[in-house]
Symmetry: C2
Subunit: 334 residues, 2 copies
């Protein structure tokens, strides 16, 4: 009896979901900008640089330390930990599928992966290098990097621009297609459970996909206010409004508490949640978003259905070879 009812529900839901035109599978490749066409040599160099802790002042923090390519593309921490155990106020966004973001960082202050890659390296509480000149000087001493830069950029010298181009080229390969959701959208109607289909319908009905739109559920190009409605209880508990988001960059009142719309892809792997990493579990995150953004009080069942659907956004992680990082003669770390 239960199974039949589930099936009836499922068929009804399939009708309403297929009527919505916005559901799209994730592309399996990401386009490169005109100034930085993707090549195998750039990907190989970028993968080395991405995983090399020698790009930090202490030699202990690589891009992958906070945006971990062996995990969900981040570090499962509220705020990342940079050199000398320092922490900032924001949670590391996932690197997986970041190629599909039109802007980068929580506040969207970088307009490309290339621009983003330049930032953390010289941020004093992240990778702590004094300058990109120091990074370049360090790379120039490593024979293996000279060869890898030559392969990627020919006669051009090792430079900040070429290092960040290579890192961005590598990041454009970090795509996780073939999630249950993608298979479902592609025609395999058995790929989602009935509960996941219910959650998918609820996500559309509530309006979550008004902002979390597009195949990466990241509202390409979109900035949105969070929280929209101040909710005393959640605010007191999680201090979402302490950080003014985009306004911290622009200093404009109208940008206060505006944020890039983050992807929902692989969200089951990227706890804790929100820009400040204040919320430990996905069900609480869903409850808060519905209340603060849409002024809806969800039932426990609705939350469970949506979380089931969000779990269907976990994709397939491509097989990667570990880079063999070139050796350095001597040591300059203290």
């Amino acid at each position: 009896m239960f199974k039949i009812r589930s099936l009836v529900t499922l068929i009804a839901l399939l009708g309403s979901i297929s009527a919505a035109s916005a559901w799209e599978a994730l592309p399996t490749t990401a386009p490169a900008p005109p100034g930085n066409p993707t090549t195998d040599a750039k990907i190989a160099l970028g993968k080395m640089l991405y995983h090399d802790p020698r790009l930090s002042s202490t030699g202990t923090v690589s891009c992958s330390s906070c945006h971990n390519t062996m995990l969900g593309g981040e570090d499962n921490r509220p705020n990342s930990m940079g050199v000398n155990g320092q922490t900032g106020g924001r949670s590391a966004p996932t690197v997986w599928n970041s190629a599909f973001n039109t802007v980068q960082f929580w506040d969207g202050r970088a307009d490309s992966l290339e621009a983003q890659a330049a930032g953390p390296v010289t941020n004093p509480i992240e990778m702590g290098m004094k300058s990109w000149d120091d990074v370049v000087a360090r790379l120039e001493k490593i024979e293996g990097y000279q060869k890898a830069f030559d392969a990627a950029f020919g006669t051009e010298p090792i430079s900040k621009d070429n290092a960040t181009r290579a890192i961005a080229a590598y990041e454009r390969t970090l795509i996780t297609p073939n999630s249950p959701y993608d298979k479902f959208v592609g025609g395999d109607k058995t790929a989602l459970t009935p509960q996941q289909v219910k959650g998918m319908e609820k996500v559309a009905e509530l309006g979550c996909t008004g902002c979390h739109s597009g195949p990466a559920f990241n509202g390409p190009g979109m900035f949105q206010k969070f929280p929209v409605t101040s909710n005393g209880f959640f605010e007191a508990q999680h201090h979402f409004s302490k950080d003014k988001g985009l306004a911290e960059v622009t200093k404009k009142a109208e940008n206060e508490h505006f944020w890039k719309v983050p992807t929902l892809r692989n969200i089951a792997l990227t706890a804790p949640y929100f820009h400040n990493g204040a919320v430990k579990t996905l069900d609480t995150a869903v409850q808060i978003m519905a209340k603060t953004q849409l002024n809806k009080d969800l039932s426990k069942e609705e939350i469970a259905d949506i979380v089931a659907f969000l779990n269907a956004l976990t994709g397939e992680f491509p097989e990667q070879k570990m880079p063999v990082l070139p050796g350095t003669p001597g040591s300059n770390f203290n």
Copy 2:
């Protein structure tokens, strides 16, 4: 003329070197102890655990943070940096070929890779977990680890013993064969340059291989005093004697300043040198060892020859797939 003279020198050296019977190529596999036969499932699990920063209190430090499998098996730092930016007094030994050490840690206090793997996880300045019970509790919450432990250990529960067995099984695969030296010893007399052959001969003649013996140049089972002769200049500069080595564990006067003989394999990649990482370059390390251990003052040429030979001990690093670490629901890091 120069070439002919080099060739004559080379032939003379080949004669003396082949007369020494102690030169051995590195085995390509490492034997496992009776209690922990190596299996593919253990290697796979051990590789995941080895690279998982969630085995540290802050979620930021994995085994590979200090014993980096993408680099020379360590971190190129004088002293490693553990959780919250803390540092200790010793330099991380390389994990590559550690399977051929009969004892582990600089002071040799662990008699197996299994015993070694248990230590850093609960060391407050390394990975900082309060107890292995806490590690096990954390792993039990991760479904993917439950499956990986089941595959490796069947119905046995997740435990400290099984986690360290898996890590050790993985470490036994971290072998770097086919260095120029190995090829030379295997019969390819072109694998070393004439200078490297001169350095090889000098290493034997001076007596370096009296301690750095065996195919891994690590004096299996051997503890030796360092420095043997106190040299005021080097001691004042590098403070080698501040740390009492084995005696810090045994509290016995006769063990003061005794150390496990470290491997010379891949030494060109593992600057800085000595137990306290006080010496930045390989040529200075060679100069100091000759003086403090053998009371020999080497010429610049002799040092250059030995360093050339030591560079011939850099092996081939096996191709490794990055582990995909299983996701964790929620987050417990602060």
